[in-house]
């Protein structure tokens, strides 16, 4: 460093995901997707899947080596499930990272302002009172609406108290709304104990019934939400110096916080609507990136998407194989694998720092 003094100015660069980390992340995701396609009760090899994939590309005149049922297993069962897992995992990790930045709170997760409790309440209402068989359509819609409504309520309460200027009142309002809705959800659930199992299965999360329909349902929300959040990655770095200083640097902090919370909420609610409540991804993945690569949100946001996607795809593979043919709730897997892994990362990075 000192050699540079006197010659030219010091090197200054804005933080960004470098080429090596981009490659590592994309390779991880590719690996996770391949594992997701290959692993299952019916053995189908990577080579066969690759040739089958090429057969779907027009003008290549490759014929698929798979029979009709294998084709269906790979492209109608496993692939949509892998894609949905990637979308949900990437979204939850991105939302968690954004919440942590917006609230300058390392413990923030995508459920901080009540999305989970609201979605849970909405889903429980449908499961308990909805007519038999409507679940497929109405359940995602009800949980999505419940999640968004909960955060909206938290925001309005927080704003009426603190004028939207401090994050503490907003978080407290979120905790309040979440507590109320959780109580309401448990009340409805206990009153209708015949549907207890179904409610629990939903609450613990899973991609069991994933199909292309689910993928298409969440895709627009996730795409919009992810675009807004990723475009504001530098804004989150500025917010790291506090509201007052961010204002003195020219940012409209109140408006930006509303926009970022809205985007993260929309994406999270969409993810929750199709997968239930999957914990741990939103809090652990961003911290993993932060500890291993960089503390800048310009690095954390994009890498969290890819790492969160890979993590959830792999977690889902475990969820459907460990107790096969039964399935474990995916939230159990994310915590069971994620917690020790994160403890290890925490130990090694902290002791070497």
């Amino acid at each position: 460093m000192s050699a540079a003094r006197g010659h030219g100015l010091p090197a200054v660069a804005a933080p960004r995901v470098g080429v090596p980390w981009t490659l590592v992340a994309l390779a991880t995701l590719l690996g996770a997707v391949l594992v997701g396609l290959v692993v299952g009760p019916v053995p189908i090899g990577i080579g066969e899947i690759a040739r089958s994939a090429l057969a779907h590309v027009p003008f290549l005149s490759v014929t698929t080596p798979l029979d009709a049922s294998q084709e269906a297993i790979v492209w109608e069962l496993r692939f949509p499930r892998v894609v949905l897992g990637a979308l949900v995992g990437g979204m939850l990790a991105l939302s968690g990272a954004s919440y942590q930045g917006v609230f300058r709170n390392p413990l923030a997760d995508p459920y901080l302002l009540g999305v989970a409790a609201g979605a849970g309440f909405g889903a429980t209402l449908v499961i308990a009172y909805g007519p038999e068989g409507v679940d497929g359509y109405v359940l995602p819609l009800a949980s999505f609406a419940g999640g968004v409504a909960a955060v909206l309520a938290a925001y309005l309460i927080g704003r009426s108290v603190g004028g939207g200027r401090t994050t503490a009142t907003l978080i407290l309002a979120g905790v309040t709304v979440a507590a109320f809705l959780t109580a309401a959800q448990v009340f409805v659930q206990q009153q209708n104990s015949d549907t207890l199992n179904e409610v629990y299965a939903w609450l613990l999360g899973g991609l069991t019934t994933a199909g292309w329909g689910d993928v298409l349902t969440v895709l627009p929300y996730v795409a919009l939400s992810a675009a807004v959040l990723l475009l504001h990655r530098r804004t989150l770095d500025v917010l790291a110096v506090g509201d007052e200083e961010a204002r003195s640097l020219g940012l409209d902090v109140t408006r930006l916080r509303l926009l970022l919370v809205a985007a993260a909420t929309l994406g999270t609610a969409a993810a929750v609507a199709v997968s239930g409540l999957i914990g741990f991804v939103g809090i652990v993945v961003p911290h993993l990136v932060r500890l291993v690569v960089s503390s800048s949100y310009r690095v954390i946001l994009p890498l969290s998407v890819v790492v969160g996607a890979s993590f959830l795809v792999l977690a889902d593979v475990l969820a459907r194989t460990i107790l096969a043919p039964a399935e474990l709730p995916i939230g159990v897997v994310t915590a069971f694998i994620g917690a020790p892994f994160f403890a290890l990362v925490l130990r090694t990075t902290r002791s070497s720092a």
Binding site: M1, L9, A11, A14, R16, R104, E245, S248
Partner: protein
Amino acid sequence: MSAVAFESVSVSAGGKTIVDGVSLEVERGEWVSILGPNGAGKTTLLRVLAGTIGFRGGASLDGRRLGSLRRREVARLVALVPQSPVVPAAMTVSEYVLLGRTPHLAPLAQEGAEDRAAAAAAIRRLDLDELAPRELGSLSGGELQRAVIGRALAQAAPILLLDEPTTALDIGHQQQVLELVDRLRREEGLTVVAAMHDLTLAAQYGDRVVLVDRGRVVAEGSARDVLTSERVEELYGARVRVVDGVVVPVREP
């Protein structure tokens, strides 16, 4: 044209008047120190100047009415060095200084070559070359203060606001920081408005002091004229003697 012009500016919060009809002019290139006991409204005055809180009355920066300026435009005119900055511990000094370029970037844009050059120049200017790759959390109080001033300098605003810039520093670093600010003021033509705690240092640096109490301007002028032992004793509830323009606290015998 003055860099700063306040005409009976008032600020209230929670039914309490914090700044009460303050009028104040600061010339370009001038250093004005705002003095007053704790809770007098010094920080609030700086926040009005930085455009981060609402107020009543008339205020203009560089001849432009504060109310008519967008937030980004204010940030291009005024840079704030807060009393206790929020420090993202794992951010490097050079990343931190680069954040000063925020008001110069188009919305959602990243820093370009010009911004990197401005930040590099600020780093060199504050002798932060060796600290540039270090994390903020690893800096000493004096080093951190220099990094914050570096960020303000990268902001390239003609008006520099300092909120009690020497509070956390030992006597040597207090002098170094104030000398640095004075050098920047002379060489870059900055206007400096500083809320000051230390009356001795306030008398030694800057052209003019403004003494405020309970939101009002009590006196303004040269430190020698304003800081009389009677005034300081009354406002601060202190026992002092003023020796050769320097306020010295004394103990009851």
